[in-house]
Symmetry: C2
Subunit: 220 residues, 2 copies
């Protein structure tokens, strides 16, 4: 198909497609003349993936590029590629030096994961991300207790089991990796949204005056 | 305390504190001379909150300002303020027009929440955020099934119950609102991190070659 058709099928404007092509996020089409190129269903699929990562997943282009590099590199085996993807999607907060609060939070994070028996690498960026949240809550006088951390972990594991169960035994390497990217970029947005909506529900039960509930339900 | 002490106690550089003061994220200190102002423990507390929202929560300054406006406005009652905070923290994705995929996803989102009996407003931005993720997964050929959505919702609700349970009956209005902000900005980061770590664990079990697991556990 021509670039105009690619735009129509994907809903992505031609100018944006050209930008993605220049940025190397979308492979070039096959040139059919000096000014024309032909695109395939694979281009359309990749274009939709890029758009979802940028628009729904809020990933910066540099990270989208890193993610696609992993998906497109056939040299790494699937398990290793999944691990690398993990790091490509997440930002990697630096650990501060000489911060006793951070060290205490890091120990709690490590103890939690060790206690749960989860198989995660020592250098997973999300250990630091979790540590950062735990350290900040403590610094602000609202330390997270172990029970809440374990409840969060159990909830997250349930969601993760559903995520991974959706991978079929016949899926190709590319399909598995693409799906893993989508889960990281989109299903985490779904989880965050549900977490907030659930908090709205729980706090409505606890804080709304009895007369207010009906109004709230109607969208007040 | 002087601004230099505020910097030392908070770990935030003086230049950043001055920037926050100019941006109205931190109330001015009490002027003790033409070039000096005196700050209190309340300033330190607010400074730590702002830093956590910006650095850990990744909130843009405009949103931090909106959040603080809600926390500082004594006119709204607590329940209403909690609802408004909810919207101030979340970005508000626009709903596309004439998109049948979006409409189908929105119906699924609404049906899910109605079926669960959650008390959330019709215009909650997170309905759209959830819809956006559900619509994008479907568009990319990986529709989320109802079982997974319900499992996500149950997991999110468990986490939310722990969040709200931490609010004490003697907490002041400001304490409740500050805590609600922290949970939105920080504990959601913790949940996202745990969700990814859990996925690493589940996929290690499923995809790692038996010989590889030990290596992975050691951080390979």
């Amino acid at each position: 198909m021509r670039i105009s058709e690619l735009a129509r099928h994907s809903g992505v404007p031609v100018a944006t497609i050209k930008f993605y092509l220049r940025e190397g996020l979308l492979p070039k089409g096959e040139a059919t003349s000096a000014t024309r190129a032909e695109y395939t269903g694979a281009h359309l699929r990749r274009l939709r993936l890029v758009r979802a990562l940028v628009e729904v997943g809020d990933l910066p282009l540099s990270r989208v590029r890193a993610v696609l590099r992993v998906v497109d590199d056939p040299a790494t085996d699937l398990h290793r590629a999944l691990g690398t993807l993990h790091y490509a999607v997440a930002d990697d907060p630096p650990a501060p030096e000489d911060d006793p609060g951070w060290d205490a939070a890091r120990r709690r994070t490590d103890d939690l994961l060790a206690g749960l028996g989860w198989r995660v690498t020592d250098h997973a960026p999300d250990r630091r991300r979790l540590t950062r949240a735990v350290a900040a809550m403590a610094e602000l006088g609202r330390p997270v207790d172990d029970g809440a951390l374990r409840a969060y972990a159990a909830a997250a594991h349930t969601a993760a089991e559903h995520d991974v169960a959706r991978i079929g035994p016949g899926d190709t390497r590319e399909e598995v990796l693409e799906y893993a990217v989508l889960v990281s970029a989109l299903m985490e947005q779904a989880m965050t949204a549900l977490h907030r909506l659930a908090r709205e529900d729980v706090s409505a039960t606890r804080f709304a005056a009895p007369g207010e509930r009906g109004e709230r339900e109607r969208g007040g």
